[in-house]
C-alpha cells in the first residue's frame, strides 16, 4: 500500500471535483449546434447568401430591427421551408439519441436502441394503416399518418410492457424478449401490407426510411413539447440511472425504487421516440450510435452522457439531413441511408482509436 499517498491526500484532489472538461464540451456543443443549424439553413437548392440568411433570421427576433431588403420569396424559403426542417431534424436527433441512451442504461445492454421494445414496428404498422385508409378518412383537420404512427408506437410498447410484467416487477430480459417477439410479429404484418399496397408502396417505403421533406412549423410545435418534457424527465433521472448501472439489487440497496424508475424512464423514452418517428419515419442508427460515440469520447457517467447525447444527436441529424437534401439535389436521399453511411465509418474510427471499456 502506498503509505505516502495516505498521508498527503486527505483532502480531495481537484482532478476529481473538476468535471473533467465535460462541462466545456456541453457549452462547446451548444455553440456548435447553433452554428450548424444556421449553416444548414443557408445551404440548399436555392442559393441564398450567408449574410442575408442571418439578416432574415435576426429580423424575426424581438431585439433587432432590420428593414427587409430581400425578396419575400427568399424569406419564405428560409423561414417556412428550411428553418422548420432544420429544427425538426434537431429535435428528432436529440430525441432518438436521448431515448437510446436511456434504454441502454435501463436495460444495461449496449445493443439497446429506441426501437428495441417494439416502438418502430408499432409506428410503422400505424403509419402503413394510415396510408392504406380510404382517402375519405383523411382531411378531418388532422394528419392521419403521424397520428396513427404515434398511437401505434405507444400501443405496441404498452402491450410489450403488459406482457413482460411479472407480478409487481418488470424483469428486463423478459421485456426485451417480449419486445423483440412482438416487433417481429408487427414487422411481418407491415411487410405483408406493403406487398399488397399496390401504388401506395412507394410512399410507404419512403416513410419507413425516414424523411424530413414535409417538415412544417405545425409539426415542430407538435413534437417539441413531447421531446422537451420527455428529455427533461430523463435528465432529472441521470443520477439514479448511474446507480442502476450496478444492478437492480444494489440499486435497491442504495435506495432506488427500481420499479418506479423503470416505469418513468420507459414511459418518457417511449413518448419522445414515438413523437419523433411519427412525423419523419423510423430513422435508424442515431439512437444506438450517438450515445456510444459520446461514451467513447466523454465517459459513461449519465449526468454528462445524457445532455451530451441530446446535443450530439441534434447536430448529427441536422448534418445528415443537410447531406440528404444537397448531395444529390434535386433528388432527396432517404435520411436513414445517410445516417448509416456517414455515421458508421466515423463510429468505427472512434472505436478503433480508443480501445477501452466503454460500457
Amino acid at each position: 500500500m502506498p503509505s505516502e499517498s495516505n498521508l498527503s491526500s486527505q483532502t480531495l484532489p481537484t482532478h476529481l471535483t473538476r468535471w473533467g472538461g465535460r462541462i466545456y464540451a456541453i457549452i462547446g456543443l451548444s455553440v456548435l449546434l447553433v452554428m450548424v443549424a444556421a449553416l444548414a439553413t443557408t445551404v440548399g437548392s436555392v442559393k441564398i447568401p450567408f449574410l442575408m440568411t442571418f439578416q432574415i433570421m435576426l429580423s424575426k427576433l424581438p431585439l433587432f430591427h432590420i428593414t427587409p431588403v430581400w425578396p419575400s420569396g427568399i424569406e419564405t424559403i428560409i423561414l417556412e421551408i428550411r428553418l422548420p426542417r432544420v429544427i425538426l431534424a434537431g429535435l428528432v436527433g436529440a430525441a432518438l439519441a436521448t431515448a437510446g441512451a436511456t434504454y441502454q442504461g435501463l436495460f444495461r445492454n449496449p445493443l439497446a436502441d429506441p426501437y428495441l421494445i417494439g416502438v418502430a414496428q408499432g409506428a410503422s404498422l400505424g403509419a402503413v394503416a394510415g396510408f392504406l385508409l380510404p382517402t375519405t378518412w383523411h382531411g378531418f383537420g388532422v394528419e392521419v399518418i403521424p397520428l396513427f404512427a404515434f398511437v401505434g408506437a405507444i400501443a405496441s410498447t404498452a402491450i410489450v410492457y403488459g406482457l413482460a410484467r411479472v407480478g409487481k416487477s418488470l424483469p428486463v430480459t423478459t421485456l426485451i424478449l417480449a419486445g423483440v417477439a412482438l416487433g417481429a410479429l408487427l414487422g411481418s404484418i407491415v411487410s405483408y401490407l406493403i406487398i399488397s399496397s399496390g401504388e401506395k408502396m412507394h410512399g410507404i417505403i419512403f416513410w419507413l426510411m425516414g424523411s424530413f421533406s414535409l417538415s412544417q412549423w405545425s409539426e415542430v410545435k407538435l413534437v417539441l413539447p413531447y421531446v422537451a418534457v420527455g428529455a427533461g424527465v430523463i435528465l432529472l433521472y441521470a443520477r439514479p440511472l448511474n446507480v442502476m448501472q450496478l444492478d437492480e439489487e444494489q440499486a435497491q440497496q442504495l435506495g432506488i425504487n427500481v420499479e418506479r424508475l423503470k416505469l418513468v424512464l420507459l414511459a418518457a423514452a417511449t413518448l419522445i421516440t414515438a413523437a419523433a418517428v411519427s412525423f419523419v419515419g423510423t430513422i435508424g442508427f442515431v439512437g444506438i450510435i450517438i450515445p456510444h460515440a459520446v461514451r467513447l469520447i466523454w465517459g459513461a457517467d449519465y449526468r454528462f452522457l445524457l445532455p451530451l447525447s441530446v446535443l450530439t444527436g441534434a447536430i448529427f441529424l441536422i448534418v445528415a439531413d443537410l447531406v440528404a437534401r444537397t448531395a444529390q439535389a434535386p433528388t432527396e436521399i432517404p435520411i436513414g441511408v445517410i445516417t448509416a453511411l456517414c455515421g458508421a465509418p466515423f463510429f468505427l474510427y472512434l472505436l478503433r482509436r480508443r480501445r477501452k471499456v466503454i460500457f
Binding site: 435497491q252 442504495l254 425504487n257 471499456v357 460500457f359
Partner: protein
C-alpha cells in the same frame, strides 16, 4: 444507533421455503457473524434485510420499525450493504462507484456536490483505495473491488452495515485489515454490523456473537465459544474433531483434520449438491 431484529422470519424463493423461524438480534456496537454451510441461506437473510425479497412470515424490525413500512430511500440511509461479488459497470471509475453511496442522501433534483465528494474521498482513505480513484472498475482485482465496496458503504453513512462474505476475495493480510477496519468502525460509531462469513476462524476472532444456520433453521447462536463447538461443527459440517483453542486469546479455532472428517464432509457436500 440502530438495532436489527429478526422475529420468526420465514423466507424462500418461488414458494419454496428456504429459512424457517429465524430469530436473532444485532445490537448497536455489536458485530454478529452469520455462519453455516454453502447454500444455507446467509445471503438470503441479507437480501431480506434490505427488502430485496419479501418475507413469507414474521417480521424484521429496524430500530423498532417494521422494514416493510420504511420507504426504500430511508431504509438505505439506515442500512448499508456490501454485496458479494456484485456486478459493477466496468466503464465507471472507482470514485464514481464509491460516490454512488451518497444516492440515498440526495433528492431527485440534486447532484453530488463537493460535500458528497469529500465524504467519498474520506471513505476511500479509510479503505486505502485513494490510488484507485481514477481507474475503471473493470480493470480492478476482486480484492480491490471489495475494498471499494466497503468504501461505498462507508460513504452511505448508515448506522447498520450488512456484509456478505466481505473477505471472500482477499489474501490473509487484507482479510485482517478489512475486518479490523469494520470492527473499529463498529465500536467507534456504535454500528450494528451483521456479516455473513464462511471462514469460521475469522468469524470466531472478530464477532461478538455468531448465528449458525443449517437446514433452514438457526442451529445455534451465542458467543464464539458457545457456537463453535466440536459437536456443532460435526452436526453442521460433518467434520470431526477439528476445534482447538487459539493459543493467544483462547477463542475457538478450527483446524482441518484430514481423515474421516474429510470423507464424511465430502459425502455431505455431494449429497447436498446431488452429484
Amino acid at each position: 444507533m440502530i438495532k436489527i431484529e429478526m422475529q420468526n422470519v420465514c423466507l424462500g424463493y418461488s414458494g419454496k421455503e428456504v429459512l424457517t423461524d429465524v430469530n436473532f438480534q444485532v445490537l448497536p456496537g455489536e458485530m454478529v457473524g452469520l455462519i453455516g454451510p454453502n447454500g444455507c441461506g446467509k445471503s438470503t437473510i441479507i437480501r431480506a434485510l434490505t427488502r430485496v425479497i419479501s418475507l413469507y412470515r414474521g417480521r424484521i424490525l429496524l430500530d423498532g420499525k417494521d422494514i416493510a413500512s420504511i420507504p426504500r430511500q430511508e431504509l438505505a440511509r439506515m442500512l448499508g450493504v456490501v454485496p458479494q461479488m456484485p456486478l459493477l459497470p466496468s466503464a465507471f471509475t472507482a470514485f464514481e462507484v464509491v460516490l454512488m453511496g451518497r444516492n440515498p442522501h440526495l433528492s431527485l433534483f440534486q447532484y453530488e456536490g463537493p460535500k458528497e465528494m469529500d465524504i467519498a474521498w474520506q471513505a476511500m482513505g479509510r479503505t486505502m483505495t485513494h490510488h484507485l480513484a481514477r481507474r475503471r472498475v473493470g480493470e480492478l482485482s476482486g480484492g480491490e473491488i471489495q475494498c471499494l465496496l466497503i468504501a461505498r458503504v462507508l460513504t452511505q453513512e448508515t448506522k447498520a452495515i450488512l456484509l456478505d462474505e466481505p473477505t471472500a476475495n482477499l489474501d490473509i493480510g487484507r482479510q485482517v485489515e478489512i475486518l479490523n477496519l469494520i470492527r473499529n468502525l463498529c465500536l467507534e460509531n456504535n454500528l450494528a454490523v451483521l456479516a455473513a462469513l464462511h471462514d469460521l476462524n475469522l468469524a470466531s476472532q472478530y464477532c461478538d456473537r455468531l448465528v449458525l444456520i443449517d437446514n433452514g433453521r438457526v442451529h445455534a447462536q451465542g458467543t464464539p465459544s458457545e457456537v463453535i463447538t466440536p459437536q456443532n461443527i460435526k452436526e453442521v459440517y460433518g467434520a470431526d474433531g477439528c476445534v482447538y483453542t487459539h493459543p493467544v486469546n483462547g477463542l475457538p479455532s478450527v483446524l482441518v483434520n484430514p481423515g474421516n472428517g474429510r470423507v464424511s464432509n465430502l459425502r455431505k457436500i455431494m449429497e447436498r449438491d446431488e452429484v
